[in-house]
């Protein structure tokens, strides 16, 4: 099978009339990478995918696949294969005909097509199901058939448009692992579109987080989670507690934030925002629920938060404690379940502490809407 081919988006703008769907996107995707575009619905991620597959021409900028400019090359001539959100299997064709459709288009005889389809059916663990109709398969099986159909054409780049969104939770988690396995096996570049951060973080080598047509951050899943570059990324990826306030002082890569609700708190400055913060600026500080610990900090009061408990939820592996926070929003803390009956009681005033290197501060900006 072909090895990975790089995909580069250079200064891509996509407009529909007055509406700007994608604003100045610059993305370099390494060959053989599993790359995800993550963002809420309507952020322009599917539009980018359509520009890569060739169903849509960017208003400005270039799409390069394997270093080759794709301008004027139609979707049927590009080395890409697209898996649609609703899979778009052909309902009137048998499974094997579906899988080998790209070979049928190329004028390859039925015998050879059948052989290749059977090989691919083996790969997706559906051996012997080639003569069924798609409607006779389960959701996960249809999913795998769609993947096999896309891989049959030996594409250099596989494009996936939220293909797991129609599946139930268990199957979705299973298919994540399976997709990643398949990607490693075939070694081609996968570009994956999703609004589900879990999918993006578990499968991807790199993730681009998008908001309203703008790419906010491109990084590894790990870095996106630990070192978000903007308030949007911090609040969209994973759960986060936001503390609004002003910068009181800056010392190297740390700053003290004078928060509206919880007094002065010490935090690390987001690496992407180093140098962009000045004393007196409006800032947002983020602390994840799992970073908060019970009890006051031992050495410094600058990493202690005290608040009243609003309520507590038992989630099985963790307890979620909600405390009264900034601007009517609650502060959420996750405590691992170690057999406690409960963590807190309603109305109780709790002191929490955190490690400042696990908190992150950045200039105030737009948060992800819940």
């Amino acid at each position: 099978m072909s090895s990975g081919v790089a995909v580069n988006l250079e200064d891509i703008w996509i407009r529909f009339g007055d509406f700007v769907a994608v604003r100045d996107a610059n993305v370099n995707i390494n060959g053989g990478d599993f790359f995800s575009f993550l963002g809420p619905s309507g952020c322009g991620k599917t539009t980018i995918l359509r520009a890569v597959s060739g169903f849509l021409d960017p208003s400005e900028g270039r799409v390069l696949i394997g270093g080759k400019d794709m301008a004027g090359i139609g979707p049927n001539k590009r080395p890409t294969a697209l898996i649609f959100q609703n899979l778009a299997l052909f309902p009137l064709m048998k499974v094997w005909e579906n899988i080998s459709f790209s070979m049928e288009v190329a004028g390859i005889g039925a015998k050879e097509r059948r052989k290749r389809a059977d090989e691919l059916l083996d790969m997706i663990a559906l051996e012997g199901q080639g003569d069924k109709l798609p409607s006779e398969l389960s959701g996960g099986q249809k999913q795998r058939v769609a993947i096999a159909r896309a891989l049959c054409a030996n594409p250099d780049v596989l494009l996936l448009d939220e293909p797991l969104s129609a599946l139930d939770l268990k199957l979705r988690q299973h298919m994540r692992t399976e997709l990643r396995e398949i990607q490693k096996r075939v070694g081609i570049t996968f570009i994956y579109i999703t609004h589900d951060q879990g999918e993006a973080l578990t499968m991807s080598d790199n993730v681009a987080v998008m908001k309203a047509g703008v790419i906010d951050q491109i990084d590894s899943g790990h870095n996106i989670y630990d070192h978000p570059a903007t308030p949007f990324v911090a609040s969209f990826v994973g759960e986060n507690n936001v503390f609004r306030g002003k910068i009181k002082s800056i010392n190297g890569n740390e700053a003290i934030v004078s928060t509206n609700r919880s007094g002065d708190l010490l935090s690390r400055i987001a690496p992407a925002q180093l140098g962009n913060l000045n004393v007196g600026d409006d800032a947002m500080m983020f602390i994840r629920p799992e970073v908060l610990k019970l009890g006051p900090a031992e050495e410094s009061s600058k990493s202690t938060i005290s608040a009243d408990v609003m309520n507590e939820e038992f989630e099985g592996n963790t307890f979620s404690v909600f405390l009264e926070g900034d601007g009517g929003k609650s502060i959420k803390m996750s405590v691992p379940n170690a057999g406690q009956d409960h963590i807190s009681s309603r109305g109780e005033n709790l002191s929490l502490h955190y490690d400042p290197s696990n908190a992150v501060v950045m200039p105030a900006g737009e948060l992800a809407s819940e």
């Binding site: 139609g74 049927n76 649609f84 052909f90 790209s102």
Partner: protein
């Protein structure tokens, strides 16, 4: 067993009174508007044309003579065939088939365009424009076409103005007007079933095929046409049946020497007052067209159930 369930559920959801009324209406429709008239025609077709005094008397017995007349004419020895009427019959069937095929070819691109440019204002306007001419009576439309195709009609005037012909073409004698009229008369019955099925086709399937390198021909042959088949079949069935059974268009647009089989039926009923003979002709036409429709559906592997969708 399953049917019983349907009936009991029907009464449960609609109540006994409303259910009975609805059932009664359906029954009335089926029995009085469909079954009884056909049965009475069938009965007529096997009887002699007798003076009123003899009806119900000893001479009023069943006979095949009406059917024999269509095949052999008035020749009692069955040596020669009723070639005039048989020719008209065959010609009617073939012409109706041609009209149907012509309508399929004409409507498919239009239906594809309408079905795939979903719900835009222009398409809605276009559909209304297509329907408006059909608010006018069928006979008036036929006369309008007769005027357009006439010696000094719009078409001939235009052709002569463009110097494409030097003298008027007799479209009516050459049956051009007839075929155009028949094609036009039932074209919406072809267009709308096709439009409906094509509209229900998932656009992503077309894009998926295109993404895999399929040409437009391939996409239509493998994706769109198989999907549209029930719609095409239902449109084709209606156009074929109605064309073969049309009367107004052949009466008005037919050339002086060309007869449509329905005109023969009409003559038997109206001019010769021989309802028995007319009924036999009508039954032959009905049975033949149904047989042809069923055969064609078998060949193209279309189920009756799909058409009803």
């Amino acid at each position: 067993m399953k049917k019983k369930m349907i009936f009991s559920n029907f009464f449960k959801t609609n109540g006994v009174i409303m259910g009975s009324i609805l059932m009664g209406l359906v029954g009335f429709w089926l029995i009085f508007l469909i079954v009884l008239p056909q049965l009475s025609m069938l009965d007529y077709s096997f009887r002699f044309n007798l003076p009123p005094a003899d009806v119900g008397g000893p001479k009023d017995v069943y006979t095949l003579s009406n059917y024999q007349f269509l095949i052999y004419g008035s020749d009692d020895t069955h040596q020669t065939y009723n070639s005039v009427d048989l020719k008209v019959f065959v010609r009617t069937i073939i012409a109706a088939m041609m009209v149907t095929i012509f309508n399929i070819l004409l409507c498919y691109p239009l239906a594809y365009f309408l079905g795939q440019s979903k719900g835009s204002a222009f398409v809605r306007l276009l559909v209304v424009l297509l329907i408006i001419p059909y608010w006018i009576n069928e006979i008036l439309r036929a006369f309008a076409l007769r005027i357009i195709f006439g010696d000094s009609g719009l078409l001939n005037e235009t052709l002569m103005f463009l110097h494409l012909t030097s003298e008027p073409i007799d479209f009516i004698r050459h049956d051009v007007a007839l075929y155009a009229g028949l094609g036009y008369a039932y074209i919406l019955l072809m267009l709308f079933p096709m439009y409906n099925v094509i509209e229900s086709l998932d656009r992503n399937q077309i894009e998926a095929a295109r993404d895999m390198g399929a040409s437009w021909v391939k996409i239509h042959r493998r994706i769109v046409i198989p999907h549209a088949k029930p719609g095409i079949a239902s449109g084709a069935t209606m156009v074929f049946m109605l064309s073969a059974g049309a009367l107004a268009a052949p009466q008005i647009l037919g050339g002086p020497s060309s007869l449509w089989f329905t005109q023969l039926v009409y003559q038997w009923f109206n001019d010769s007052l021989n309802w028995q003979q007319g009924a036999a002709y009508a039954i032959v036409l009905l049975v033949s067209t149904i047989t042809i429709v069923l055969t064609v559906m078998r060949i193209f592997k279309v189920n009756m159930g799909d058409i009803g969708k």
